[in-house]
């Protein structure tokens, strides 16, 4: 399931789990119902979040479509949605490495090669700032570490 599960499966073949390994597993599993509930809220309100972010981001880049074509804002939203969904999955799995390995290393390379890091920088701050307007404090705090990781790797 998560990297923790994969590590346990890989490293414990041929023996029973140690008590500390069982406790880690138990702690994670105990939190699954809460993570699923929050995951569903994050999914349901994705559009509301991105609407708000794009609305505030567009005035910051008035020349975006002229420089990158008429589909530029559509692509921007698509990419933000992708980052958001991977963040949500990483939250569900309680696994930052999932986010790094599956998305951020790749997207970081893309942004660098297209020299988009500076242009994209404000949008991640907008996403972080918008959390409190769309989600409860608990929901925001669950997803925030993953968004901060994305911001750090992609545009910082």
């Amino acid at each position: 399931m998560s990297l923790m599960f994969a590590d346990l499966l890989q490293n414990t073949e041929g023996r029973y789990l140690h008590p500390d390994e069982l406790k880690s597993l138990h702690d994670y599993v105990e939190g699954i119902p809460k993570r699923v509930r929050i995951y569903q809220v994050l999914q349901a309100k994705e559009s509301a979040l991105l609407d708000r972010v794009i609305e505030k981001f567009q005035p910051m880049l008035p020349n975006l479509t002229r420089r990158h074509g008429v589909l530029a804002w559509e692509r921007c939203r698509r990419d933000l949605s992708m980052v958001w969904r991977y963040c949500c999955m990483a939250m569900l799995l309680n696994d930052e490495d999932y986010l790094r390995d599956k998305l951020l290393y790749w997207l970081e390379t893309i942004l660098k090669s297209f020299k988009m890091r500076d242009e994209c920088k404000p949008v991640y701050k907008l996403m972080l700032d918008s959390l409190a307007h769309v989600f409860t404090a608990e929901e925001s705090e669950m997803i925030r570490p993953y968004l901060i990781l994305a911001k750090t790797m992609l545009v910082s």
């Binding site: 399931m1 041929g14 949500c88």
Partner: protein, 188 residues
């Protein structure tokens, strides 16, 4: 249980998208069944040696202190089977069992049959009655069947195969503070 479908596969299938409501419900069911899985895992840990000794007895080994190399190999491979099933059950992830290999250089020829015997022992053919509850047996059954299928697919045909190995090296297990012996310590 309908969770005999690997979580890594589910997540890989949904990469870049949300998990389906069915998958999320399945994840919650897994979480809610975790204590039951943990209890069963601990039964495995506690009963492993007795169960294997029972199988060896059924195969005619009355003195487990004086096993042949082939019997020791069988005992170790049965222990590895139990530990693999137990871990997959605990994780709710049968994918490791689908690709199960005994980790030794050679598979004990009679392992599929010995697994059938072990399954009968686990289900409670002992004099004191069943060790597992019906719910535990239902939870365990699909994992056990997956292991048996994987094991049978690896076992050579009896007619065309060499005799059971006499001595085989088994990968050393990690040391464990648990009451259960490591594979290398079993029946030596």
């Amino acid at each position: 249980m309908d969770d005999i479908y690997s979580w890594p596969e589910r997540i890989a299938d949904r990469e870049g998208d949300y998990l389906s409501p069915d998958d999320l419900q399945s994840l919650i069911r897994y979480a809610l069944s975790f204590q039951e899985r943990l209890d069963l895992y601990q039964v495995f840990q506690q009963q492993e040696l007795d169960w294997i000794q029972e199988v060896l007895n059924q195969q005619g080994s009355v003195d487990t202190a004086d096993l042949s190399p082939a019997q020791r190999l069988l005992a170790r491979q049965l222990a590895l089977c139990l530990r693999s099933v137990g871990l997959s059950l605990l994780m709710g992830d049968p994918s490791q069992l689908q690709q199960w290999s005994c980790g030794a250089t050679e598979l004990y020829l009679g392992l599929p049959e010995a697994l059938d015997q072990l399954w009968a022992v686990i289900q409670g053919s002992q004099q004191n009655g069943p060790i597992l509850t019906d719910d535990q047996r239902d939870l365990l059954s699909p994992y056990w069947q997956t292991l048996q299928a994987a094991c049978s697919s690896q076992a050579p045909e009896a007619e065309s195969s060499p005799p059971p190995p006499v001595v085989t090296e088994v990968e050393p297990a990690h040391s464990s503070p648990e009451p259960a012996l490591t594979l290398m310590e079993m029946f030596v």
